[in-house]
């Protein structure tokens, strides 16, 4: 075998490692679409996209955090707090003002997560486990334990409105995908996030302010979680203090299924979009087949372990 062949072989390996999981799940969804009639008609596709938009927006933030070498399991709680606040604050102010405040709160929580992880040095999963609990507690304090409701028509547009035939949350979600994919591949923030997740020390020694950029990934994570909370509130016009439980796990699952490495350094927002869609399709299929919720948990957990297992084991083999 000559040298070029060897290199080509290596590139093939590089590609399968990067997209293998996505290819696997694409095959799965093709099978589902053959088995389930009417799967590929326009209405069903729009349904799937709309169902995906809340987790999807959240998962964009999660993708940034994981690419940067972090982990954020507080986003489910952030969704609950922001959904409750977005509705609750409308009693005192215009819905636009409450939306802005909620986004700032999400960014603030992201800032705290980033500070605890990058500056204090708490392992991110533990740091965000702490903030997860704190934020859930704040949500209970804010709501007093009762569901919060709102009735602003214009606010509801964010979750239930249409532009032409397309639901607004889908447009918002796809715009966010495009925006953050652009940030990831075309700005120093995106490039440095990947670099930090790949090797923080190498990046630091290349003259990059690594703490700042790592904190920024958490800020994006918190901000996007707040945005997903706003969509949630606008869609349901009601938020319970228990909202968003388990969403963090779904966001993480979507991210890793979309080809983002759990150890950081590699990934894409477009990949996460596909990951989210696949998760939603899977959920739909379970519901159509009448699979119990408990079994769904089991399967989801196992998918995460499988996907992360393949990624981690191939890394282990390489070293």
């Amino acid at each position: 075998m000559n040298l070029t062949d060897k290199f080509n072989q290596k590139n093939v390996r590089q590609i399968t490692q990067k997209y293998g999981i996505m290819i696997l799940f694409s095959i799965l969804s093709i099978i589902i679409s053959i088995v389930t009639p009417n799967f590929l008609n326009a209405q069903n596709i729009i349904n799937i996209l709309r169902q995906s938009s809340i987790i999807g927006v959240m998962a964009i933030g999660t993708t940034f955090v994981i690419i940067g070498g972090g982990f954020d399991i507080s986003v489910g709680s952030v969704l609950a707090l922001s959904a409750a606040m977005a509705l609750g604050l409308q009693a005192q102010m215009h819905w636009l003002a409450s939306t802005v405040i909620v986004l700032l709160v999400g960014i603030g929580i992201g800032l705290a997560n980033g500070f605890l992880s990058a500056k204090i040095g708490i392992v991110p999963i533990i740091a965000t486990l702490g903030t997860q609990t704190v934020v859930r507690g704040l949500t209970y304090m804010y709501t007093g334990g009762y569901p919060v409701t709102g009735d602003s028509q214009s606010f509801q547009f964010i979750g239930s409105g249409y532009i032409g035939k397309i639901p607004f949350p889908i447009i918002l979600f796809l715009t966010m995908v495009a925006l953050w994919q652009f940030v990831l591949s075309k700005t120093p923030l995106g490039r440095y996030s990947c670099a930090i997740g790949g090797n923080k020390e190498s990046t630091r020694l290349s003259g990059v302010n690594v703490d700042f950029y790592q904190i920024m990934t958490f800020v994006i994570g918190g901000g996007m979680a707040a945005l997903s909370g706003i969509i949630y509130a606008a869609r349901l016009s009601s938020a319970t203090p228990l909202a968003g439980q388990g969403y963090d796990l779904d966001a993480i699952a979507s991210t890793v299924i979309g080809g983002t490495s759990v150890s950081g350094g590699q990934g894409s927002i477009v990949g996460t979009l596909i990951g989210v869609l696949l998760m939603t399709i899977l959920n739909n299929m379970f519901n159509l087949m009448g699979v119990q919720v408990y079994v769904q948990y089991l399967v989801k957990g196992m998918i995460i372990l499988l996907v992360v297992g393949i990624d981690s084991y191939s890394k282990k083999q390489k070293n």
């Binding site: 070029t4 290199f7 080509n8 290596k10 590139n11 590089q14 591949s185 075309k186 700005t187 120093p188 490039r191 440095y192 990947c194 670099a195 790949g198 090797n199 020390e201 190498s202 990046t203 630091r204 020694l205 290349s206 003259g207 990059v208 302010n209 490495s261 350094g265 590699q266 390489k318």
Partner: protein, 496 residues
Amino acid sequence: MPQILLSLDGINKSFSNVSVLRNIDWDVHYGKVHALLGENGAGKSTLIKIISGVYTASSGTVSLEGRQLDFTSPQDAVKAGINVIYQETSLIPTLSVLENVFLGIEPKKHNVIDSVAMRKKYAEVNAQIGIDINPEQKISLLGIAEKKIVEIMKALARESRLIIMDEPTDSLSGKEVSLLFNVISDLKKRGITIIYITHFLDEVFRISDRITILKDGRLVSDADADEMSVELIVKSMVGDVMKLEKAPDYPSKSSEPRLSVKNLVPDDDVPSSSFCLYPGEVLGITGVVGAGKSELGRALFGAAKKKSGEIILDGKICRINSPKDAVRAGIGMTTEDRKDTGLLLDDSILHNLTLASLQKHMRKGFISTGLELKLYKGTKEKLGIKCTDSDQHLRFLSGGNQQKVVIGKWLAADPDILIMDEPTRGIDIGAKQAVYQIIRALAAAGKSVIFISSEVPGVHALCHRILVMGRGSIRKEFFPEDPIEAVMKAMLEGEV
């Protein structure tokens, strides 16, 4: 009693086609202290790892008392009575001395640890080395010398017959070295064989019975200690000086220094260093492992916090507290360990190349792939990087090509001063020559290079001026016209 404990016969070892050990024949004599010498990259570590079952030789055999060994793991070697004490301690800091010594071999009664038997055995082992160490003491509270002794006890508890020590005196004081040497002499009297890896020539003659020298993966000398002298050792270690043109003329000395470092103290317990660097100069910094070369470079670059000192750049005092500050001030640094601290192994060549100069590869506020690709093409051609395309991940490149990417990254940032820490380590001769050519070209273009290396021939041939470091401080200054043997000797003598 057989004369020869361990015998190596025609050992070869290569890693992905790079030959590290070539045809090593070596006999380790029963109950002797063998000093194993050689420059960095001469193959000492690899040889030790083959003896202790970490690596398997590509060809050749290892036999213990005439019986051929077939180790598949370090545990096999321990069972056969071969223990290695590495430079970095393998003790568990949160456990006690007693627990560490018997880790994994605790005497048991009905499947429960028998602490009475363990203490009794500890007393026996402790008696063998003649120094009292409290078995209840936590490892984290011990000094470095005591830790070494605990490691020796750990080996003795495993009924070790051959103890290999890798640079055991590296961070010990003179008094501690004597303590360790007493222990070694006691062990020798009990018939335990020692292989002792060191850089310090004075120690070699104090402690060893036989001296073995490796050079470029070959065994170049193996003799009784009393047949050897410092001169003979230096001669063997230098070998045939690599053919490299002498450094071009020294840049005009009349010019002002670009950089003056005044009383820089990288760390506690280390004396301060002062030196200057001129435009167009290649300044070599050499010394053995632990001499403080990297620490000096890292402190200068802001990679490690420094205790005190002043850095004057182009006549102005410059505050450098992070690599970011250094890069802003026009200083770059290629690090010693390219895989852990120099590269993003699981990222593309393109992204690695622009990491230190992203701001230069942007148009209208966004990263321009066009500018990045232009850099990639230029760098690939200039440095001769062998790769398939700009997306290839660094993990799949050879060591030499990886090193070229690290250098390319800094060339893209275009610093006035480039600190290069062991840039030729672990790369083949061809790549080494290429690295030398790049450094020459940089100097010719008026850049200044600080070339940190423990490969004396390279330093001697390449640099306009050479600083030799020992135990944390700059000891001596040499020029290209000084003989290479003098540099090597100054380096090996360290403290003397």
